[in-house]
């Protein structure tokens, strides 16, 4: 008998690699935070003895979901303003609220709420972009979730930094601080081509190359943005970024609802990554990301929720369903974006985009034990003919019962283990009262 830390028996193990595989009655063995074996339940019972054994006969065990685009702290502005034209929403509601309230405490508490919500819905890794990224990183590390913290660069002064020089200085400091950290990685996060000057964009390219970290940017979110950029620069934002050397396998281009054939071919040629945020794009009426075409070109497409002010939840199970349904509706093909591919988008493709696929994104011996158990015995997923399609089309976040990150259990029978929920609720009430007043 081999001794391990944790042994999880599940009705179904869905490793994501290879895509579409569902292993019935299997177990995952975990030692020192890593997956050391995935094997049939009866063999596992013979070969392993564990400090913690979990029996989840009605559950699907999947890799932790990767939320590839968030503004975590914006949970504190969830429901603050809805159903408004984009510019009225931004200029008259969201930006003034941010200007008034964004502070280290706002970011820390908003991130706490976001992580609580994300863990409850099976997200083990999020890729963030916001002010005070030092706070985001700190809270994420403290709560034990895996994160990629965006080192934000934007031309406007904020409570976080007064000018480009300060944005870069603070970025470098956070990058240095978290180098080699077990859970926290960093990426450069220039906000968007229209909000970051050419000089800063060039600096981002240079430093991302030196530090060997990804670049996370909003790109081609709306037709209006692309058209305005054309008028000013006589080229698309994507082509401009390419001129500056930013379009590479390091790039995470978020939204991408406006992509010409030539844009798509360039993305393919450069091995850049697209982060699809279907619910945010729908809610803000930004347009439709051509997911089906991108996948046909074998471009790496990952999935994100965007911030809670424009979605309005951080729920990757819901986002998967929306992505799969929308791709069919938009392409006119009910066979487009099948369930297995959708789950890959929500896991492995996110890991690939963030260049961490050696660590997470699928269940494989040697990868981190980033695991999520989903109870499939809810009536909404019964009868269960196909755990994989029914995970995508029928399950909801309330069915997520247990979550592990690097082998540590952060959600245990629906209870968050790394957070005092009453204390968090007090903090939320405090902010809600202040902000609503």
């Amino acid at each position: 008998m081999r001794q391990v830390d944790t042994l999880i028996f599940a009705g179904w193990v869905i490793p994501v690699e290879p895509e579409g595989l569902v292993l019935e009655q299997h177990a995952v063995a975990v030692q020192n935070g890593q997956i050391v074996d995935i094997l049939p339940a009866d063999q596992a019972a013979q070969q392993f003895s564990a400090q913690n054994t979990h029996h989840l006969p009605h559950h699907a065990l999947i890799p932790g979901l990767i939320n590839a685009h968030t503004h975590a702290a914006m949970t504190l502005l969830r429901g603050f303003a809805d159903d408004l034209p984009l510019m009225e929403w931004l200029q008259n509601h969201i930006w003034p609220a941010e200007q008034k309230w964004v502070s280290p405490e706002f970011v820390a508490d908003g991130t706490r709420l976001a992580i609580a919500e994300m863990l409850q819905s099976g997200i083990t890794y999020f890729n963030d972009m916001y002010f005070f990224p030092d706070q985001t990183a700190n809270v994420a590390a403290e709560m034990g979730i895996r994160s990629c913290i965006g080192l934000i660069i934007i031309d406007f002064p904020s409570a976080w930094a007064k000018d480009s020089s300060e944005y870069f200085k603070k970025a470098e400091k956070i990058y240095q601080h978290y180098q080699g950290h077990n859970l926290v990685r960093t990426a450069f996060a220039p906000h968007a081509p229209y909000s970051v000057c050419e000089e800063s964009l060039k600096e981002v390219v240079k430093r991302a190359e030196i530090n060997q970290i990804p670049i996370h940017i909003h790109l081609h979110e709306t037709a209006f943005e692309v058209q305005q950029y054309f008028e000013k620069h006589q080229m698309s934002p994507l082509d401009h970024l390419d001129q500056l050397g930013m379009v590479s396998e390091k790039l995470l281009a978020v939204h991408a609802t406006q992509l010409t054939q030539q844009n798509q071919e360039l993305i393919k040629k450069r091995n850049a990554n697209i982060i699809h945020c279907p619910e945010s794009n729908l809610k803000l009426a930004s347009g439709f990301c051509p997911v089906n075409e991108l996948l046909n070109l074998e471009i790496n497409v990952a999935l994100g929720t965007d911030g809670a002010a424009s979605n309005d939840d951080l729920d990757m199970l819901g986002e998967m369903k929306t992505a799969a349904l929308l791709a069919k509706g938009v392409s006119g093909n009910p066979a487009a974006l099948p369930a297995a591919k959708t789950l890959t988008m929500a896991t492995l493709n996110g890991a690939k985009a963030l260049q961490i696929q050696d660590v997470t994104g699928s269940l494989k011996i040697g990868k981190s034990a980033d695991l999520v158990a989903v109870d499939m015995q809810h009536f909404a997923t019964q009868p269960l003919y196909n755990p994989l399609t029914q995970l995508v089309y029928s399950s909801s976040r309330g069915q997520v019962t247990d979550v592990w990150v690097a082998g540590k259990q952060l959600l245990k029978s629906r209870i968050l283990t790394s957070l005092d929920v009453l204390e968090l609720q007090d903090k939320i009430n405090h902010w809600a009262a202040k902000i609503a007043s």
Copy 2:
């Protein structure tokens, strides 16, 4: 002190009439299954004493959701076949399975599962269309949910009826049996213009007029269907139905993804109702119902989930979010289909379409106590600036805690009261094993 059966105090009461109103700290008083008062909590505490008092300080209390298009028994085929082209899905998977398995027991057990799932997600009324509607009606009445049972008419022989004459005979019998029933109503449910001959359609119009019941039909679901119909009849299905006198305030036209300007004007002129099923239309890539245009014409649009084989859940909270988001995306207007209007579609508009708005669809003195409590203290709906928008954009079915139909509590702190869940699970397992084999 006035004695009532039930008094429910809620953090927020959302009556739907008038649209958009949110009453803070209110109570609903229920006597003999009817709402007898809606008033501020402090006044309620002084004026009423009740046999059952519920304190739900963190909950929104809303009218029961109305699922205006289902094939309830098809829950037993949920997840049976996905991600396939429409005709392959229907002809090679769904129809053969139905031919093999549909029986009185299949319909009774499938309906039981559907109702369990619907009650758990806050649905108090469903409008069904399937074979063996006598079974559907019987199970619905037994479980205490409100229903409109479709008296199915189709040109093909089935286990339910061998020919048109038998379909009509059985329809009449069910109609007679449930006349004046407290919870069960009936509607004629001719399957679709392409699957029911002209003679039978005329007969439906005649009998629906005599019996004074609605007519529930699939209409203009796909472009292919409309095009084929044109080739055969030199007119659209809608125009043909109008020639036969079927397009009236009694008509519930389901799907309607293909509507010309002239079609829309006819629907408006005749006061007919549209039942929008956004998730089914997306999954089967049927097209987009022009909801925004229909609402601008002040046409009554209600919401349905369709059957679980093509959705794949019976979750009106999820359907509301999809409807609201999709309307914005398709119209290119982030202010389209705001949250308050979406909730009206999922409640009052369904009641109007089914001509039962005097009984249910909103919280009003004299209407039935069809009530749903949604716990808004889940982190996904925090902070809570606007219970109505956050109900539509952020809540999920797991937050539904309590459901009453005609004053009777059918879901109590998430527990189904009118069903043995273990017995149902056994039945599901039995069917799943048979059907999968």
